[in-house]
Structures are given as C-alpha cells and as structure tokens.
Subunit: 482 residues, 2 copies
Amino acid sequence: MAPNPNPPQEFAALFAKIDELKPKFIERLQEAVAIPSVSGDESLRPEVVRTAHFLKEELEKLGAKDIELRELGTQPPPVANKDLQLPPIVLSRFGNDPNKKTVLVYGHYDVQPALKEDGWSTDPFTLTQVGDVLYGRGSSDDKGPVIGWLNAIQAHNELGLELPVNLVTCFEGMEESGSLGLDQLIAQEAQAYFKGVDAVTISDNYWLGTTKPVLTYGLRGVNYYEISVKGPAADLHSGLFGGIVAEPMTDLVKLLATLVETNGKINIKGIEEQIAPLTAAEDALYDDIEFDVEVLNQATGSQTALYKTKKEILQHRWRYPSLSVHGIEGAFYEAGAKTVIPAHVKGKFSIRTVPNISSEKLTLLVKQHIDSEFAKLGSPNTATVELIHDGDYWVSDPHNSQFTAASLATEAVWGIKPDLTREGGSIPITLTFEKELKTDVLLLPLGRGDDGAHSTNEKIDVSNYIEGVKTLSAYLHYYSKA
Amino acid sequence: MAPNPNPPQEFAALFAKIDELKPKFIERLQEAVAIPSVSGDESLRPEVVRTAHFLKEELEKLGAKDIELRELGTQPPPVANKDLQLPPIVLSRFGNDPNKKTVLVYGHYDVQPALKEDGWSTDPFTLTQVGDVLYGRGSSDDKGPVIGWLNAIQAHNELGLELPVNLVTCFEGMEESGSLGLDQLIAQEAQAYFKGVDAVTISDNYWLGTTKPVLTYGLRGVNYYEISVKGPAADLHSGLFGGIVAEPMTDLVKLLATLVETNGKINIKGIEEQIAPLTAAEDALYDDIEFDVEVLNQATGSQTALYKTKKEILQHRWRYPSLSVHGIEGAFYEAGAKTVIPAHVKGKFSIRTVPNISSEKLTLLVKQHIDSEFAKLGSPNTATVELIHDGDYWVSDPHNSQFTAASLATEAVWGIKPDLTREGGSIPITLTFEKELKTDVLLLPLGRGDDGAHSTNEKIDVSNYIEGVKTLSAYLHYYSKA
C-alpha cells in the first residue's frame, strides 16, 4: 500500500512536516524501544518505570500540562517481591479549551518479553532498520503508536499549528500483564482528570492483513469456565482401582465432549437464540474486506479451516460465538506413561461472546447444560462448573463521528477507505473506557497483521509508522469538525 | 491374626529358633533399612550399591557360595550422570545337590524415596519399633522379605539343619526404577546361573487386608495407549481462531469419551469376547476371601465404588479388564485460565488386561475403534493411536505344588488357609521368570495391605516379619517333599 500521492490541500504542510521529521521520529522510537520495559518480568520493573519517566520528559518538551505519573500501589500476589510497585500511568494534557472537543488517547509503554536467543535476527531492544522495516520489541505493540501521538504533537508544534482538539494521554505500563490498577484509575478519574473527554482513541491492534488500513468497531467477549469433577480422596493406581471405582476423568471427558462439535457448532441450548441477527447492512460491511481462506490457512500452517468463504470465516471469527476446550488440570500431562487415576480434575473451556449474549445468562445455560449432561452419566462423583472470569463483547457504530473522522483521515493519507473490521479476541480496556467515561471508543490501528506483536522479530513498517502519524493527526482535525 | 499356637511337631525346633533369633532378625533389618538405597535418586546410587555389598557380606557369613555382584552396565538416558552405573544383581547359591529341588528367591534391595518432612513420624531410615510395629522405608517393600530369606537360612544354620532345597538368590537394586537390566540378566542366566531352577518365589506384594495371609496367583497386564490429534502447525489464540478452525482438543475429548462408560463398561468392540469365562471353580475361590465394599471405600476415601458385593469388586479388580483415561499431553494443564487452542494433543489411556486378551489383538481393536470414531467426526485434523507399552497378564494354577506347599506353610504358621488372591496391577518380573526359566512362579507376600509400601510411615508388623520367616522356612520344607 503506497501513501496517497495527492493528500487534501489542508494537510499539505502538516504531512510535509511529518515527512521532514521522519529521522527524528525514528530516533524517538529507538529511544523508547531501547528501554526493556517488560512488565511480566519483576526484575525489569525499574526499566518499565524508567520508560514512564522517559515519556514524561518527552511530554514536557512538547509542552504538555498537568503531567502526572500516577502511582497505582503495590502489585497484588502472586509476586516474588511483595513490595513490587506497579508502574505508573502517564497522564498529561495538551490544551484545555472548552470550545474544543477533548480526545483521550490510550496506549501502553510496557512490552512482551524478548530474548535474542528466542530467535530474533537483531537485538530486540535495539530498533534496527532493515530496508523499509523497523525491527524491535514494542515497535508495533505498543511503543510505535504511543510515540506516534507524540510525533503528531511535535509536527503541530514545529508548524506553530494549534492542536484542533484538547488531547489527554493515558499511557499505562501493565497492559501485557493484565492492566492491573487501570480499571480503578479510569473509574476514579472519570469525573476528575478525564472529565469532559468526548472520545477515546486506542491504537493497540492491527490491520487485518498487510496491505489495507482498517478501523475496528467490534471485539468478542470471553467467558472462561472450569468443570470440576471430584471422586476419590486422592489419586489412585489404575492397577489397583481400575474397574471398581467411578473415575473422574471418564466423566470429565464425557462432559467436555458434549460442549461443541468438530464443525464448531456449540451444543449448549439457548445460546444461538441470543445472537444478534445479521442485518443486510452488517453483512455488506464484509463485502470489501481484503481476506481469503488462504490467509487463514497460512496463519494456522494447516488446512484446518472450518469455512471456505471470506464472509463465513470473518463472521465466525467476529460476530458468532465459539467454544474452545483448553485443557485439564489435575490429570497426567507429561510425556510418557503414568498409570494414575486422577482424583480431582478440572476441565477448562471458554466461550467467545458476541452481541447480545449476556454473561450471566450464558453462565446459567452452561450450568444447566453440565448439570443435565452429568445427571445422564449416573456417576457417584460430583461435578460442578464455575465461571473463572468474563469480559464483555464490544461493538460500536462504525459510522459514528469518530469512525467517520478516522475513515476520512485514512483516505487522506492512504487514498483508500479503510476496511471496517472486528476482532475475535477481547481488549477489555475498550469496555472500561466506554462504560466509565460514557464516550465512544475508536480502535485505530497503525501496524500490519504480520507485525508479530507477541513473537520474535516484532516490527513496524516505516510507512505504517510515518503514515500512521499523519493518520492520527488528520483524524484529530476531521474529528474536531465533526 | 495370631500365630498358630500348635504348629506341626516337625517345625517345633525351627520355629522356636526363629522366635529366639527375633532380636537378631530385627537388628539385621535395621542395618538394611539404615542404608538409604533410593534407586530413583541418582545422588544416592552409592548407597544402593552399598546395600548390595551389605547383602553380599551377610550371605557370606551365612555360607552362601558363588556370590556375585553382577554388574549391569551404565543406566540408559534420561540420566544427569551419563556414566551412572546400574546397581548390581546379588546372585548367590545355598546348596547344589542334584537330588534336591532348586528354588530361586527374588527380592529387591532398593527403596522408594523418603524424607522426614514428607510426613514421617520417625526417621524413615532408622527402623523404629513402636509397639508391635517396625517403621522404616523398605521395612515391608522389600527389605523385610529379602532379609526374611537370610533369617530363614540363619535359623537352619544355627540348628545344624540342612536346607531342604537348593536356594538361589536374585536380589535386584532397580525395582522401584523399572528393573533396568534385569530381564536381560534373567534371559542370559536361564541356562547358566539359574540352570536347574524348579520354582521361583517372589515376596514383593501384600496381603489383601490386614488380618488374613494370602497367596497370589494372578496379575492383570496393561496396554498403554496414546491418541495423537494434530491440527494447526502451532498453538493458536482462541480469540483469533476460535470458531474458524477445527480444534484438536474438540476431537480428542470426543474420542476419549467413546472409550468407556462411567460404570466401567469398555466400549471397544471385541474385547469382551476374549475374556476367559468365569468357571464355577474360579468363582468359588472368591467365597472365603476377607473383603467388603467398606475396605474399598476406605482405601479411596470416597463412596465411588462401582460395585457393592465382595465378589463383583474383586472380580472386576482381578479378572476383568478395565480402561482408565490418565490425561492429556500438549494441552493447558495449570491452575487458572489460558485461552489457548492447543495444536497437537495426546490423550493417554490404558487397558488392564486379563486372560485371554492378546496384546496384539487388543491393539488392533483399539485402532479400529479410534479410526471408526474419528471418521464419524469428519474432522480435517489427523488422529492416530499408538501402543506406548504393554505388559502381559499372569495367572497361575493356585493348586500347583508351589502354591500347595505355601498354603500348608501358611496353615502351619498362622493356623489358617491363606486366601487365594490376584492383583489388579502388574509385576512384570513374574512373567519374565516364568517365560525365561520355564518354571512356575509363586507370589508369597509377607506384609499387610496397609503397610504403606510407597507412602510415608511404611511399616511391617513384627508378627508379619517373624511369622513370615517361619512361613518361608516351612514353605521350603513342604515344597521339597512335593
């Protein structure tokens, strides 16, 4: 995908300035990537905190006001160091004009672990340009987008151009480790630091493929369940007890087998009725999206796709529920052979939820299903099912003012309308912002589908990074006029 | 169970001598237990070897000939120390009179691991008498019986009484770690050191309960299988791929669910027809056995018994096959929640085999079953099933000359006919001796069902130990005359 050769006249100077600042922008990302801010590694916590300070200094240079590194207290167990402090949230503000709209931009400055010996071609914490690609941990997830916002502000500053909106930053340092403390902070600041926010923009996902920009308007939720089957007081030897006791594993595999068919059909009664009907308008959104079954087969390295057409695949990934069996706790799991009769086993499965499946109702249906299937077994064991955690689905109107502004911005930069996509996974913070700030949320990804966010050789293409800064900038302008 | 107050006159002197030597016999066991011969702990290998030398010295003192510590070479991987030597087999011979029968006695001088902090009330490697019970690792499994044979010889020696049979010892030091090297040694010595052996006697199991002596004439075999289901090339995220790919776990739990019913009924066609019919004579063997469902419930700490009557329980433990599902390799198995779609999962199950189920035919039936059930799923994944290992069942004539001699000996010592039992598990060495030496094998246990062979506070009752020495002795006399 090449950038639009003829961007709208109104952005000529801004886009030219961004192109001019490209070396500076790459340097800034380099500095950010150089700090190994791995939130999942307790020993690297000082580096995560150092990244917050780095951002604070950059924000100061760019003229941000009310900069705060908001402390979130100690990290709850399990932790090796009981006094481990959570990394702070970086709050700051550009402009406070009551006549302007206010946009909150969210991103995270922590990263996934990365070791050269995992198979990286370059040092993961040295941003390295090879051709038109920048390799480094966090380049795409999510330091690239976070620094992207700073770059957009710098471009405005250097042109003496006022930002068209008030901008509030909310950058966290625990996203890769469960966003501990963030929900509470958002709730607490909804009527304080975040008061007056009109729109939230999150750049923490990816294009569907590698060539066409997207805007993301939906996410599936997830309800995670555990079926617990208990029998004997302790594990038994199958030589001594095989054939004379009711084995919990026998019951558990039978229960797990009732949940879903090989073709993906969920057998739990009452779920299908809750799925929002597919309207012609929604169905049409899939027509232009760039995708095919080969992209899926390539991603899975196999021929295990359950559907052949683009629409079926994407709709089953994005707008229909799915059920996956993840594993069993308490049974034998190693290589080789062990003749154990496990006494207490826990089967794990989850259901990806979509509009309009309610978590509470789903849990009720799951319990009814397990109770009824277990009763059929006539087992002397006991079986219970429990919701381990849930996160709601999210769906937005892809034609609201934010999406419209982002779509226009994408067209200005790339010369093409973005695909309107959803995602099969969840980004729980989306829902928290929507609920607590009572605003719309836009997911505006910068990177490509093959950026390898959580794997080795994570990268961002130079064009995605630089055109991304233009897109973020143009989006603010379009949105200010919406 | 109190010993017979009026043993046959012919054993009066012998039994009196054994009673007289009780302190010496306990002291000898104490010395054996004091050496922590844990074969599963590489760092304790010198202690295992030291125990072999201790036995050698004791055998020398007792007048054994041709004593050999037969080396078995280095232990095959996985081992930390590549040059780790296997502990030797202790071979020795008492008497070589062609006019006498020759009895080979097997036992093992290695033990299970034991740490005081695991919950032992006394130091596990200090044989400690509390009331009429001797606590210590190996007291019952299997140093008690091994030392028991030495004690029997000492009693004869001190009376100037010739052993009524030629006796060959075969004591190994790797029983708790797979009896590495023993099969080959037996095959190799069948026509050499073991030439002329008429009968093999193994004391390495237990009474069924705590009050009545038993002789054991049968063991189930075991065929261990692994179903491998492969789909995607690597584990996938259920948010991104749930609902659009065929998940190997979905297929695997369905396959595992087809194998066996909660009530223990095996669903694999063709197995039932192979089970030897229950004759009236065999059925009658169960009449007098001391056992009831409460013993089973106590052992499992639950009310999960599939049968209520003694006969049903014991027959399903000993003479009918059973199928246990042990676990899954490759799936999520930890506490908590992980939203993984495992790419390659292996389901483990085993079938306990009984006369006349052939291992080869069983494997064929298992393959047919899995192939046919997998075909029904219509899955794009692949599924295969593989035999991981097998060990044959064993059953002997409980009225042959060895069993008859052991029964008479038990009656002489305890004043009661022993129960004739089988076991649900396997003792593979039984089959090896039978096959290689072409002799009958007798399982003649000394300890009680609650000795805790592999758990904390392992013990042997003083009466079982001392009356056991009498039983071994009397057995040799009765067998010599058979």
